[in-house]
Amino acid sequence: MEGLSSKGVLSHLSVLAVQTKSRRNPPQQSTRVKELKAEAEALMMRREQLKAEIQTHKSLQRMRLSMDKGEEEMDEDSENSQLLQLMAKHSQLKDLLYAHHLIGGYDIIKTSLGKGVCVSVTTAYEGVYLDTYNLEIDLKPVLRITRHNVPPFIPLNELAEQNNIQTNIKAFLDVLSQHLNAHAGRKQQLKLVKERFPSVDVMESNVLCSILVLMFTVPRQKTAVLCTLNYSDHTRCLPTTVHIQCEGRTVSTDNQGPPSTVYNPRLCVMSMLSIRTLKHNKFKCPSFIY
């Protein structure tokens, strides 16, 4: 009897062992399968989402293109066409407003319940955006500038009076923009000269950047040349007169006149070249001048 039951126990034990083993292995695999199934489903959802987004983008693109051309939208039958058109319009308006800002618009904003406005004047020189200046203007009872960050050397109040700010804000802003941009341009030119030509000494300059005195040395002859640039027209970023002194002799050029003399700091070389006559053609124009 004992032998039979011990055999029975042993075989029972071995059955249990097999059962346990077989119980242990399939759970591992079915967990793995579950994981993989979940991952696959997530990926499928992501795929469908991307497809929907791409489809929406395509529809929007199509609508924007025809909207930009000014074409009338055909009434599509899809249930979301109204929403899509609205989205296309939204994006078009947003782009147009950004464009106004990028091309130097005044970014006018109403303030104080319509009693005032806030404007910004953007400055740039040769594609580089520089400082932006802001003005807060009260419209009622009388038009006047309440706050601004325009530097003091720009005659803000004078310009406001001279350009009839009361009747024509736009004209005033246009003139102000001219002054600010010209100043920004002159300042930027000075900065570039200092950066690119460290051997050139800036002897004198003022905050308005309307006078600039540069000293540079001709490389081979070791002669010092003093160059004075006068910007008497503050709405321009090009000099009106240039004086060049070298060894006591002076050459000066006037740029009061209109277009015939295209003056450009780049073409300052033209006046530099005139020094050749002083130095009997031995003077080589320093490559510094652009």
């Binding site: 993989l36 040769e126 594609g127 955006y129 209109p258």
Partner: protein, 287 residues
């Protein structure tokens, strides 16, 4: 049972690999589309996009639509204000993204519009440097305008394109357009007032106005009103009086009167301004 599971696992793994490849390809496609025409999906636009892609659980269609409508209305009013203040009408602005990274964002803009009667198409590349104090730069500026009577403008355009002075372009365009409008308004007004004397052979937007003496058909006075633009962007209107008078008529009049007409006109111009000066000349022809 183990073998079956291994099979299933293999099948699933292969499926996942396939799906990953599909998703990656779709993502690439999406990025390219975005670069081709860049939309800004933020705020209400993002809500709308989520709704359309079945992702939104928070908003209903009505909510999404009404919020978007509200924003659209606000932006339309804003656009009117900007257009009025800036003096420039924009028809379209398309954005392409060329490069979008941590250090910089490079986009290409194509802006079309008009300023009074002058149409323009301006393309440029805008680079935003994200590290340095929001530095922005324009490059590759390209300006296209209708060719008609813009010869004086061409030198300026070339200069502006070379130096990427896009703000200067728009400032100058506005001023140039204002001066052209002054001219066309004056010409039109004078023609309406004195139709028998004044004629505009090129239309009121042209540079020439001719004054014919009703009794002396061979004698014509030409007013040449040009609006010059220097390459620097300075806008200068110039008005000149030119006479075309037959030889035998000239003999009848003392030479100073006719020859000095041009100079006399310049003085008139300085004292009275363009419109009054022109009107005086017309009155002198036919009082």
């Amino acid at each position: 049972m183990n073998e079956e599971n291994t099979e299933e696992v293999k099948v699933l793994e292969a499926q996942i690999e396939q799906l990953q490849a599909e998703v990656a390809q779709l993502q690439r496609q999406q990025q390219n589309n975005h670069k081709d025409m860049t939309f800004n999906f933020s705020g209400q636009m993002q809500e709308a996009l989520l709704y359309l892609c079945g992702q939104s659980v928070v908003r209903t269609k009505e909510e999404v639509v009404s919020r978007l409508e509200e924003e659209v209305k606000e932006m339309e009013e804003d656009l009117k204000r900007q257009t009025q203040m800036n003096g420039i009408n924009l028809n379209s602005c398309t954005t392409k993204t060329l490069q979008s990274g941590d250090s910089q964002l490079i986009q290409k803009f194509c802006v079309s519009g008009y300023c009074s009667e002058l149409n323009f198409l301006v393309e440029f590349q805008l680079t935003e440097f994200k590290n340095q104090r929001c530095q922005r730069e324009i490059s590759d500026l390209n300006v296209v305008m209708d060719a008609t009577d813009l010869k004086s403008f061409n030198g300026f355009l070339l200069n502006v394109e070379e130096h990427n002075d896009h703000l200067l372009f728009f400032r100058t365009l506005r001023t140039f357009s204002d001066r052209c409008d002054d001219r066309s308004r004056t010409f039109q007004h004078l023609q309406d007032k004195y139709p028998s004397i004044v004629s505009l052979p090129g239309g009121c937007r042209s540079e020439i106005m001719t004054l014919n003496h009703p009794q002396l058909p061979g004698c014509v006075l030409f007013i040449h009103w040009s609006v010059d633009v220097s390459s620097e962007g300075r806008v200068t209107p110039k008005i000149n009086l030119l006479t075309k008078i037959p030889e035998r008529v000239l003999q009848l009049f003392p030479s100073q009167t006719v020859g000095g007409a041009a100079k006399f006109f310049q003085s008139l111009l300085r004292i009275l301004g363009p419109e009054a000066a022109l009107e005086s000349v017309i009155r002198a022809i036919c009082p």
